[in-house]
């Protein structure tokens, strides 16, 4: 096609987007066709055919001739399948899939301007349907045909035909090739011509019997008037299209019958006059989806983010106004609701189902299993769960790698499996479910599992861990060694999973998505990898911290905990190990870094003797002048923010702690990409632009060497190995009461927020309780509404609200007095008759404490908040 002016750049993009969609739709169909083989349904072949067909169309419109060419070959094969001229046996599915892959790579290469060659795939496709009858007769057409025929044709008949909107074609037929070989008679030809138009001329006797045609007979010529183009005409007459010569009526010595043409509209108009023509019925059926540019959505999202910020700035003004005018509070309320709803809905625009990734996995599993001689089923649960587009894209690579690994290492050969008493076909299960703002994905196999000792041995071999270290590890810790950079157990590098990247890259990828990954394995039963990622990367909840006059944001996801050190406490608890300052922290050592030092800001202290701010010259926090340091008064209290960096943690020292905020993340421009300490910036109502700190980047920038710290930790612990099991995995708990002698515990890690609340802050409407929290209405539930416990009777009237982490609804639990946080290592006593929402009990410091099952509690809250929401909506 040469007329590209028919296309605006926008519609060319749209065509290419359509092609991408069709390619994606095609893959599962082709895979299903392979599975079904000869039992394939007509519907399925039709679907595939339609997809290829529209790819061809789209390619034609966008001028992608090579792609169109290949699509055409694919289409011919699918057509042959549809007409049952070809059966779905080896190697048809492979050739079709190879064609699909090539089309994909051609589309992918569009931006680069390189056209990958498609000849190989095209030839393979063509060889599937090439007729066994040998090469096609080239059919040299007679260039002088027009001259030869011109005077033989009846101008009157032609004129009439053209006036009726027909085209005139001359066709040359070869007796041998077109009749005898195909077992066609002249009568068949005449019937076909009658079906599509009329015979204007023949240079033979139409009544001629089929027997009259011998090998010695000369070529036959017919002239046909039809509305068909040469291509279709050739198909109907079963001849090569090169032997169809369009005749321009102008060439055949007769005049252009313009008057007749002019009459035609009148004639049709008459036919049309029959049904009445009322205007007004233009009821377009709604089209359920539209295509929108992602950039536009991103911009909308940023605007919504800014709207939220403006709303926040507006709030104090409106509150002042509300004192004089009650209407103002109502307006503010509706602005609040609409803004939040708007932001949420725009976020949802970017959501795409996880299932979108799955067709890619199916293909990988199929190809790999075939190559390795394994039989593998891929089962996907929860493919409909939606994730932010950027998260989904970020998941594609690590997941591809995981799926490869699972097929390669996780599934045994059918023989081996049958021998081990398992079904010959292995199963890989990918399960996705959403809980609050998090998506949990696990992928598991029913294979041999991972042998912890093999992993340990390999790690020692490769110098990734010392023998001693491995010996002191638990099985789980050994298995976790697969995430160590440079680890790969495969003896030979296959072209399947051993591509030089290992599970460490998967882990890094997931962590870049602010997610977590874990692995579990039971020898003989299988392996399971668990991944938790946030639904979206665009809005995160963050802690605002400050040093000097500057403020920074730290995403909660990277924070483990925060604690406060009183003036002077810092110097006494920090000591020097190697090049770092460390402090004792929950039985281990925590490297600490001052934010001011890290960012090379000028540090100062308040010298109480001269009552003046002094520039600080020492960079170390710890020092020999312990106890009499002038600075200890000056520094005041300090906050230690414990940040996670992979499996390690470190403390960031900041002078002030502010609110927590939901921040809209703006990524840094390319010019700032070398600033490793920051992951982005955000805009906060009263502070303007605030940089977002990145735990990973800060640890790297500070040059923190966690191994030195770990070694020192081990050294100090020395000889206590016997107790080690006891010390493993202490859980930090928050203890609270609800009624006198009713004590409860929740793991700190499951909480997003804790706030003190007064009874008068709780608004009650009907059965619903709520409070104003950061401009949003937070639904409140008393603990006894969620789990079966005694009603609330707070000790000393003190109440707190706890907000579970990862809750979709804006809701909190009202509890009594928050008493303490403790590290808990013992096991729980589980009740033989378990109570919903309670995991078990334990004795902590003479108190019988009940442990909340936060998963069940969250689910219950979501349900309660859901019904509450709809009641308000009514």
């Amino acid at each position: 096609m040469g007329d590209s002016q028919d296309l605006t750049p926008g519609s060319a993009r749209e065509f290419i987007a359509d092609i991408r969609d069709d390619l994606e739709m095609l893959e599962p169909d082709l895979l299903a066709m392979e599975v079904l083989g000869c039992n394939v349904s007509r519907e399925l072949v039709n679907n595939a055919f339609r997809a290829v067909h529209s790819i061809k169309g789209g390619a034609g419109f966008s001028g992608l001739t090579h792609l169109g060419d290949l699509a055409n070959s694919m289409e011919n094969v699918l057509m042959a399948l549809r007409e049952k001229k070809l059966s779905l046996t080896f190697p048809v599915p492979d050739v079709l899939l190879a064609g699909l892959d090539r089309m994909k790579s051609m589309v992918a290469a569009l931006d680069s301007g390189i056209q990958p060659s498609h000849e190989k795939e095209k030839r393979a496709l063509e060889s599937l349907i090439s007729s066994p009858g040998g090469p096609v007769y080239p059919g040299p057409s007679d260039p002088f045909l027009v001259d030869r025929l011109g005077h033989l044709l009846d101008p009157g008949g032609l004129r009439k035909a053209v006036a009726g909107g027909k085209l005139i074609h001359a066709v040359e037929l070869d007796p041998q090739q077109d009749f005898l070989e195909k077992n066609r008679s002249v009568r068949d030809l005449l019937t076909d011509i009658e079906g599509i138009g009329e015979l204007v001329f023949a240079d033979f006797d139409p009544a001629m019997a089929p027997g009259g045609l011998g090998p010695g007979h000369g070529p036959l010529t017919v002239v046909i008037a039809t509305i068909l183009d040469p291509g279709f005409l050739a198909q109907v007459l079963e001849v090569d299209s090169s032997r169809i010569i369009p005749l321009d009526p102008a060439d055949i010595e007769f005049q252009e019958p313009s008057p007749q043409v002019a009459e035609v509209p009148g004639a049709t108009g008459e036919a049309m006059a029959d049904p009445p023509s009322p205007a007004g019925l233009s009821m377009a059926l709604p089209v359920s989806t539209i295509r929108v540019n992602v950039e536009l959505i991103t911009r909308l999202m940023n605007l919504a983010g800014e709207l939220v910020l403006s709303r926040n700035q507006l709030r104090p003004l409106m509150e002042r106004l509300a004192v004089q005018d009650a209407g103002a509070s109502q307006v503010m309320q509706s602005v609040n609701t609409v803004t939040s709803q708007l932001q949420e809905d725009i976020m949802r625009l970017r959501m795409q189902p996880f299932g979108k990734l799955v067709s890619r996995f199916r293909r990988i599993v199929r190809d790999l299993a075939k190559k390795l001689g394994k039989e593998v089923d891929l089962v996907v649960e929860g493919g409909e769960v939606e994730l932010d587009k950027s998260v989904l894209e970020g998941l594609a690579n690590p997941f591809t790698h995981l799926v490869r690994n699972f097929v390669d290492h996780g599934i045994e050969t059918p023989d081996f499996r049958t021998g081990a008493g398992k079904p010959a076909r292995g199963t890989i299960l990918i399960s996705v479910h959403q809980q609050g703002g998090q998506v949990h994905i696990f992928i598991q196999d029913d294979g041999p599992g991972i042998d912890p000792d093999t992993i340990g041995a390999v790690a020692v071999d490769k110098g990734l861990a010392t023998r001693g270290a491995v010996l002191s590890m638990t099985d789980k810790e050994k298995i976790n060694l697969v995430f160590t950079p440079g680890f790969s157990t495969s003896e030979t590098i296959t072209d399947l999973s051993g591509r030089g990247v290992g599970m460490d890259v998967v882990k890094t990828n997931i962590e870049n998505l602010k997610g977590r990954i874990g692995i579990e394995s039971t020898p003989g039963q299988g392996t399971r990898v668990d991944i938790t990622i946030p639904l979206t990367l665009a809005i995160v909840s963050a802690q605002i911290v400050g040093t000097g006059r500057l403020r920074f944001a730290i995403p909660h996801m990277q924070m483990q905990e925060v604690f406060h050190l009183k003036p002077g406490e810092l110097q006494s608890s920090v000591e020097r190990v190697g090049r770092f300052d460390v402090m004792d922290f929950r039985g281990g050592l925590l490297p600490v870094v001052r934010l001011r030092t890290l960012l090379e800001m000028e540090t100062s202290y308040f010298d109480s003797r001269i009552r003046k701010e002094q520039r600080e010259r020492r960079s170390a926090i710890s020092g020999s002048r312990r106890g009499q340091d002038r600075r200890k008064q000056a520094w005041g209290g300090i906050f230690v923010i414990v940040l996670k960096r992979g499996g390690n943690r470190f403390g960031l020292l900041v002078e002030s702690l502010f609110d927590t905020e939901e921040i809209v993340v703006t990524s840094l421009g390319p010019g700032l990409s070398t600033c490793t300490c920051f992951s982005g910036s955000t805009f906060i109502g009263d502070r303007g632009v605030v940089m977002i700190l990145d735990a990973l980047g800060m640890a790297d920038h500070a040059g923190l060497d966690f191994e030195t710290v770990t070694r020192e930790e081990k050294r100090r612990r020395g000889g206590k190995d016997g107790e080690e099991k006891q010390r493993l995995c202490p859980v930090n708990l928050m203890l609270f009461s609800f009624a006198p002698d009713e004590y409860f515990a929740v793991p700190l890690g499951t909480l997003a927020r804790l706030e003190a609340i007064r009874a008068k802050d709780i608004h009650t409407v009907g059965q619903q309780r709520s409070m104003e929290h950061r401009g949003r209405t937070m639904s409140l539930f008393f603990l006894d509404e969620i789990i079966p416990v005694a009603p609330c009777d707070p000790i000393g009237g003190q109440m707190h609200v706890i907000v579970p982490r990862g809750l979709a609804a804006c809701a909190g639990i009202v509890v009594g007095l928050v008493m303490d946080t403790v590290a808990f290592c013992d096991s729980l006593n589980t009740d033989p008759a378990p109570v919903r929402g309670i995991r078990g009990t334990a004795l902590i410091g003479n108190r019988q404490v009940r442990f909340l099952d936060m998963e069940q509690v969250s689910t219950r809250m979501e349900t309660l908040a859901g019904t509450a929401g709809s009641m308000v909506g009514d």
Binding site: S11, D18, G60, Q235, P275
Partner: protein, 134 residues
């Protein structure tokens, strides 16, 4: 002149609408598949009779009701059987071509189409005078 354009691909429809507009046909209704087209040709809504179209330009390959199905339905309907029909396609079997020809259409437009090829077909079908500028 009221045209009804039937194609399941929005991009194809909008390209066709653009071409038709430049050829001077601006009263064009779009239908997203055969059944949508049938609805627009046929359905009475609250006593209001459907619009009358002077020409249907329909794609052949569509999910659900195909172009051929639509043509068959139109030709079998007392009020609609004379309506001029142009089929848009790029591949067909002998059997479908014969079936379509038997039902009767004004012309075939072959995909991918251009302004020139559409114009030529509209001339052929008698909706446009031959214009040397095109």
């Amino acid at each position: 002149m009221k045209f009804l354009i039937v194609d399941d691909k929005a991009a194809v429809r909008s390209t066709m609408v653009g071409i038709l507009a430049r050829l001077g046909f601006d009263d064009v209704t779009e239908a997203v598949d055969g059944s949508d087209a049938w609805f627009k040709l046929k359905a009475e809504f609250e006593g209001v009779k459907p619009e009358t179209f002077d020409l249907v330009i329909s794609d052949m390959e569509m999910p659900g009701m195909s172009g051929l199905d639509l043509l068959r339905a139109v030709r079998g309907d007392r009020n609609l059987k004379e309506i001029p029909f142009i089929m848009v396609t790029s591949i067909n079997t002998k059997e479908t071509i014969l079936a379509i020809m038997k039902l009767g259409i004004k012309a075939y437009i072959i995909k991918p189409f251009t302004k020139e090829s559409v114009a030529a077909k509209l001339v052929q079908a008698g909706f446009l005078k031959k214009n040397p500028d095109l």
